[in-house]
C-alpha cells in the first residue's frame, strides 16, 4: 500500500498543482492541538431506484489531542425512513507520522482508522460506512502543499459488517473494498492577504473511487467544491457529487453537499484569546 502511495506521490509532484481542507476526504494534516472543530454536513442525493431524494445530516466534532493525533465523532441522521432518524455514528482517529515542511510547502503522511455503526437497511452494493454501513476503514493519506495548491491522496481498506440489529450484510454482496481518493484544492482568493478577517475562497476537485475486492465492481465519482473561509475561523463548503463511472448498483450516487464548519482554537489555555 505504501508503494502505491509513493508512486502516486511521485506522479503527483510532476504537476504544479492550495488548500487542503477538503470536503469528502481528510488531508494528512490534523486540526491544531487543543482545538475543536465542529461541523454539520448536509447532503441531498437523488434516488435512482425509487423517487425522491435521500437527505443526510451529519454533525461532527473533531479534536486535536496533540500536534500529531486527532479524533472525530460523527452522527448519521437520514430520511431513509419517512422521518429524520438517527441511524448511527462513527469514531475516527488520524495520526500524522511524517512531515517535511519548507517555506510555503509541505509533504505529510498520516494513517487513519474509522469505526462506524448503522442500523439502516442495506440497499446498495457500494460500501459506505459514512452513513450507510456498519464497519471499519483503515488507510494512509499523503498530502503535498505547494504554495496555493494542495494535492492529497488516500488509499484505504473498508469492510462492512452487519447493520445490527435487523439488517445483516447480504451474503451475495462483497463485504470489503479498496477505496482511493485524489483531491486538488487551490486558493483562488485573495491573491494577497491583508488580514485574518478577509474571506478566503478555495476551489477543489475531489475524485473518489471504490473497488469491491471480491468481484472487482467499481465506481469513480468527481466532487467539485467551492469553499468560503470567514474570519480565518469559519468555513462554508458547497459541493456536487457526480458519478463518472460505475459497475455497481448504487441507490443515490449524485447530489449536493452543504457543510458548515467552525473552529474553536486553543481550548485548554485559560487566557482569553481574541
Amino acid at each position: 500500500m505504501q508503494r502505491i502511495i509513493v508512486f502516486l506521490s511521485i506522479f503527483l509532484f510532476q504537476y504544479s498543482v492550495a488548500q487542503e481542507l477538503f470536503l469528502v476526504t481528510d488531508p494528512a494534516s490534523n486540526v491544531p492541538a487543543n482545538s475543536l472543530g465542529v461541523n454539520v454536513l448536509q447532503s441531498l442525493f437523488k434516488e435512482t431506484i425509487k423517487d425522491g431524494y435521500n437527505y443526510h445530516l451529519m454533525p461532527e466534532a473533531t479534536y486535536g489531542l496533540n500536534r500529531n493525533l486527532m479524533f472525530r465523532a460523527s452522527a448519521f441522521v437520514s430520511n431513509r425512513g419517512k422521518d429524520l432518524i438517527t441511524e448511527g455514528g462513527s469514531f475516527f482517529a488520524k495520526y500524522r507520522f511524517f512531515s517535511s515542511d519548507d517555506l510555503n510547502s509541505h509533504f505529510r503522511l498520516a494513517a487513519f482508522g474509522r469505526y462506524s455503526f448503522n442500523n439502516a437497511d442495506i440497499h446498495q452494493e457500494q460500501i459506505d460506512i459514512m452513513g450507510h454501513n456498519t464497519g471499519f476503514e483503515t488507510g494512509i493519506v499523503a498530502t503535498k502543499l505547494i504554495k496555493k495548491l494542495a494535492i492529497s491522496s488516500t488509499v484505504s481498506f473498508e469492510k462492512a459488517l452487519d447493520n445490527q440489529p435487523n439488517y445483516p450484510f447480504p451474503k451475495e454482496l462483497g463485504n470489503h473494498a479498496t477505496n482511493y481518493t485524489l483531491s486538488f484544492g487551490k486558493l483562488i482568493h485573495p491573491k494577497t492577504y491583508t488580514s485574518f478577517k478577509q474571506t478566503n475562497i478555495n476551489f477543489m476537485v475531489e475524485f473518489v473511487g471504490q473497488t469491491i475486492n471480491e468481484n472487482g465492481k467499481s465506481f469513480l465519482d468527481a466532487v467539485p467544491v467551492i469553499q468560503f473561509i470567514f474570519n480565518s475561523q469559519a468555513r462554508v463548503d458547497l459541493g456536487y457529487r457526480q458519478e463518472l463511472l460505475s459497475s455497481m448498483q448504487r441507490s443515490a450516487p449524485n447530489g449536493l453537499y452543504f457543510n458548515l464548519y467552525y473552529t474553536f482554537f486553543d481550548l485548554k489555555s485559560g487566557k482569553n484569546v481574541e
Binding site: 519548507d102 510547502s105 502543499l145 494577497t192 485574518f196 480565518s232 482554537f265 487566557k271 481574541e274
Partner: protein, 165 residues
C-alpha cells in the same frame, strides 16, 4: 543603620543582576512558520502564540507567515517555547529571530557560533538549531559549523545563535 541599608541594596542589586542574566530576557520574537499558505492555518499559530501568558502582542504578516511576538518584561522564555506553540498548531519554524539583552546571551543555554560584540544593550539573534531553521538551511548550517558537534545534538537545552546586527 546606613551601612545595613547599603549592604541590603548591594545584595538586591547583585541578586537582580544575577537573575536578569540567568535567562535571556527575550523582548521580541520574529517567527517565520513553514508548511502553510492559508489564513486559517496562520490563525491557528496566531491563537497558540496569543495563549502564552508572557505574550503581550502578536502581529502577523499573512503573506510571509511571519509572526512578530512582543513579550512582557521579566519573562523566562527560551526559544523552545515558540517551537512548541508553532508545532502544536501543526506547523514548523522556518526562522526564529529574537531580540535579547546582550548581557544575557553569553551563557547557557546559548552558544555563540561567532562571538557577539557587546556594543549595544540589545541584540538580534537567530537560532540555528534543528527545528528552528528550515531543513535545507540546517544542512547548510551543519556544514558551515562542522567543528561544533553540539549543533548536531537534538536537545532543547542549548541554542546555537548568531548575531544579525
Amino acid at each position: 543603620m546606613k551601612t545595613i541599608h547599603l549592604q541590603y541594596y548591594i545584595l538586591i542589586t547583585l541578586f537582580s543582576l544575577f537573575f536578569s542574566s540567568s535567562y535571556a530576557q527575550i523582548s521580541k520574537a520574529e517567527i517565520r512558520a513553514t508548511g502553510l499558505t492559508c489564513s486559517m492555518c496562520s490563525n491557528a499559530i496566531n491563537k497558540q502564540l496569543k495563549s502564552m501568558p508572557e505574550v503581550s502582542a502578536v502581529t502577523t504578516d499573512l503573506n510571509t507567515n511571519t509572526f512578530t511576538v512582543v513579550l512582557k518584561a521579566g519573562n523566562t522564555l527560551t526559544p523552545s517555547a515558540f517551537k512548541e506553540k508553532v508545532e502544536q498548531a501543526g506547523f514548523f519554524i522556518g526562522s526564529l529571530v529574537l531580540t535579547v539583552s546582550t548581557e544575557s546571551i553569553s551563557q547557557k543555554p546559548y552558544i555563540q557560533v561567532k562571538p557577539i560584540a557587546k556594543n549595544n544593550k540589545q541584540v538580534q539573534i537567530k537560532v540555528l538549531d534543528k527545528g528552528y531553521v528550515t531543513e535545507k538551511e540546517f544542512k547548510k548550517v551543519g556544514k558551515t559549523y562542522q567543528n561544533l558537534p553540539s549543533l548536531q545534538k537534538l536537545n532543547e537545552s542549548d541554542f546555537h545563535i548568531i548575531a544579525l546586527n
